[in-house]
Symmetry: C2
Subunit: 110 residues, 2 copies
Amino acid sequence: MSTETVDAFQALADRGRREILMMVAKEKRSINAIAENFDISRPAVSKHIKILQNAGFINIEEKGRERYCVLNQDGFSEVQQWINLFEEYWTAQFRSLENYLATNVPPPKK
Amino acid sequence: MSTETVDAFQALADRGRREILMMVAKEKRSINAIAENFDISRPAVSKHIKILQNAGFINIEEKGRERYCVLNQDGFSEVQQWINLFEEYWTAQFRSLENYLATNVPPPKK
DNA sequence: TTTATATGTAACTTTTTTGTTACGCATTTT
DNA sequence: AAAATGCGTAACAAAAAAGTTACATATAAA
């Protein structure tokens, strides 16, 4: 795992990482607590978490020898913003459908 | 490229594929027209497009020997829905911040 | 009917990702 | 202080993804 990924979409490409985010959304969890819920080894989970952290999806709260993961909105916003770039396209599509219906389909008689 | 990917997030993991979507959002394009805008070979682009199609991001309109790519909302919706799963988390976060401010920070004197 | 164009696909090679084990280093616990 | 716990990281191995070239096929143009 090239743990230095910073790309939000690449970070989400892995099913396991998405599951980690779901888990952490339910409640703050330590790295080991997360690893217990997966089949893969703890070091592997550790790397996934680093990737998620670098991509801005989670923050780490250090507490003694434990490190708790909490969600970070940054990564989510980045994805959301990208999705929003297409907003214009869909509304244009919708308007052209609307227009088509208005000119080609007779209105329902009440 | 294991062209059979169906996972929306995996489909978006590749920068080039995201760029293809942006291009197609601007205007309907044939496979070759898309390939001309990339450094990679046409067959590589062809595979990317198949992946995007399988993941529900684009539809193909066949027209003679050409194949035009147009956006398909399905893939985008899938991503959007996943992002929305975390809605609850952020509103809870917000409410707890609100609550903190209300109980710990004095109101500004007008 | 030749020739050119648009595209798909198979067979590989190269790069990236993902995962593992082994080990090190703090911080708790006993 | 000694043992146990929580975690990071280096050094691989295995698997998946991405790209290439070579070739096949169908449609359009000459």
